[in-house]
């Protein structure tokens, strides 16, 4: 009842919906970067949404299953094959004991999610299976997968029975928007402290995602964003998608492994429904932002949640 890691890939980690309730103790949330892909993968194999999936980054692993199971791969297209046969994305597939699941060349996106029917058998840390690599806890043995690891699968009795076929309705077009569209954001608490040129540039110019971006933060380069006057802030709580601007004027979007608090001014927050699209951007790609109001952002989130609920019913 396990998976053997023949090749680990560039960064393959176990992630779930995150470590909630411990942020007041400085414990970061972690969890998946692309919640939509994670929830879809779980729904396809009949898992509830909180079950951990493998988050697979850019160069994927080679995994050998020791038992018959069912898997689904969503998110980035990394040319996945089972024993040489292409695996169709976004649907459940049968894997036989001894089969190898091989991730190949990246075609689109950055992060793929692999769900296994029944899930992985790992001990949660502070209520979550998500890896926090910097902290050395969670996930598999507190680290990303390495060659030779053996990950045990859940011992639930139904894992060998196929998941019920579900015709999952797609997430609404209002939520998904166009892949090339601007990333929708709401104004941040310190929006008004930025000078008029910076606020205009933020909405009109493109920002490049730099190679220094990781699960903690996406560092962007573009027009310098400046305050009308220097301001000293006390540190305060941060959310997934907050866009902080340090003194050098280059914005940083806080991602899944973000710290719990921070003291830089926040020009904006990426809308929750846009985080999956942002998480699939490659370093070097350009990003534009579009400011919408919080009411519209919440309407989009509620629309997406209704779709999730229909998948998970």
């Amino acid at each position: 009842m396990s998976i053997e890691v023949l090749k680990p890939g560039a960064l393959t980690t176990l992630q779930d919906l995150g470590r909630r309730g411990f942020q007041k103790l400085g414990v970061p949330v972690n969890g998946v970067m692309d919640e939509r892909a994670h929830r879809l993968a779980n729904a396809l194999v009949g898992n509830p949404p909180h079950i951990a999936t493998l988050e697979i980054t850019l160069m994927g692993p080679t995994l050998r299953f020791t038992v018959d199971s069912f898997v689904a791969v969503t998110g980035a297209d990394l040319d996945v094959r089972i024993n040489g046969e292409p695996l169709s994305p976004n649907q459940a597939s049968s894997v036989k004991g001894g089969n190898e699941v091989v991730f190949g060349r990246r075609r689109e996106g950055v992060r793929a999610y692999l769900a296994v029917r029944g899930g992985f058998n790992v001990d949660p840390v502070m209520g979550s299976a998500s890896l926090f690599a910097r902290g050395g806890y969670g996930g598999f043995a507190g680290r990303a997968l390495a060659k030779g690891d053996v990950i045990h699968l859940s011992t639930l009795s139904n894992v060998a029975t196929p998941p019920a076929y579900k015709d999952l309705r797609p997430v609404g077009q209002d939520v998904l928007d166009d892949v090339c569209a601007s990333i929708r954001v709401v104004a941040g608490r310190e929006w008004g402290l930025f000078d008029a040129n910076s606020r205009a540039a933020f909405q009109e110019k493109s920002f490049r995602l730099t190679p220094q971006s990781d699960r903690m933060g996406f560092r962007l380069e573009g027009p310098k964003l400046e305050l009308t006057r220097a301001s000293q802030m006390e540190s305060e709580a941060l959310a997934f998608g907050a866009i902080q601007v340090p003194a050098d004027g280059n914005p940083i979007v806080l991602m899944a492994d973000r710290q719990t608090t921070g003291g830089y001014p926040k020009i904006a927050h990426v809308c929750a429904v846009e985080l999956p699209r942002l998480a699939q951007k490659m370093p070097g790609e350009f990003i534009n932002f579009k400011v919408i109001d919080i009411g519209e952002a919440q309407r989009l989130l509620l629309s997406q949640e209704r779709t999730f609920v229909s998948w998970e019913a």
Binding site: K24, L25, G26, V27, V125, E236, A239, Q259, T261, G295
Partner: protein, 217 residues
């Protein structure tokens, strides 16, 4: 200081009301961050959006007269071996503050101080405010790796490094206690609102109490 106490009290009050849609309450120096799931908020027939309902509820919680919840603060003693290899910046701090090393230790220990906030890293406390004389600035060049348990001092506040991290605080000592251990049922030794007392110990006592040994870090 008053704003910090108010932030912590408000955080405690909202926590006690226990709204089902709120999953994290993060008191900071002068603010309280509320993380909630908009789709868990009962919208009813009002036509209002989740944030409008949550804003109204929080405003009510802020203005309600409630008894103070912070009277029952825990008191936690933190043993610290000051100076020497554990506190390489102690002498420099003393010089900057115009004090002797002994005076720095004296002003830093014995009395109770507040855990004003936790942040930056798991279980990483901000403790203060210390005597006005204990006001050295942060180091111009941060260290790339500050050992776990190190006690830093700057601008009348102290931090304790829960894991080995980069950091720019002046290192005046080290505690043998593990203030963060993810596999403990209570992973963090301290929480905002606790009162702590630093207790000066010798290097031999540090060795006897050392929880970092055995590959813990």
């Amino acid at each position: 200081m008053a704003a910090n106490q108010l932030a912590r009290e408000l955080g405690a009050r909202i926590e006690r009301i226990n709204y089902p849609f709120i999953h994290d309450i993060v008191p900071a120096m002068t603010t309280v961050g509320i993380h909630y799931d908009p789709y868990r908020v009962q919208l009813g027939e009002s036509g209002k959006l989740p944030y409008q309902i949550v804003e109204a509820l929080l405003e009510q919680a802020m203005t309600d007269d409630g008894e103070a919840l912070l009277d029952t603060a825990r008191i936690i003693d933190i043993p610290v071996c000051y100076g020497g290899e554990y506190g390489p910046d102690l002498n420099e701090v003393a010089e900057v503050c115009g004090l002797t090393s002994y005076e720095v230790i004296h002003l830093h220990s014995y009395e109770l101080f507040d855990v004003m906030a936790i942040g930056f890293a798991p279980g990483h406390p901000y403790i203060g405010l210390f005597d006005e004389q204990l006001c050295p600035p942060r180091r111009a060049t941060p260290r790339t790796a500050v050992p776990v348990g190190s006690v830093g001092l700057a601008n009348r506040q102290s931090v304790i490094y829960p894991v080995t991290l980069p950091g720019g605080w002046n290192l005046i000592g080290r505690t043998p206690l593990r203030i963060f251990n993810p596999s403990r049922s209570e992973p963090c030794l301290l929480q905002a609102g606790d009162k702590v007392r630093f207790v000066s110990i010798s290097a031999a006592e540090f060795g006897a109490l050392n929880e970092h040994a055995g590959g813990a870090q």
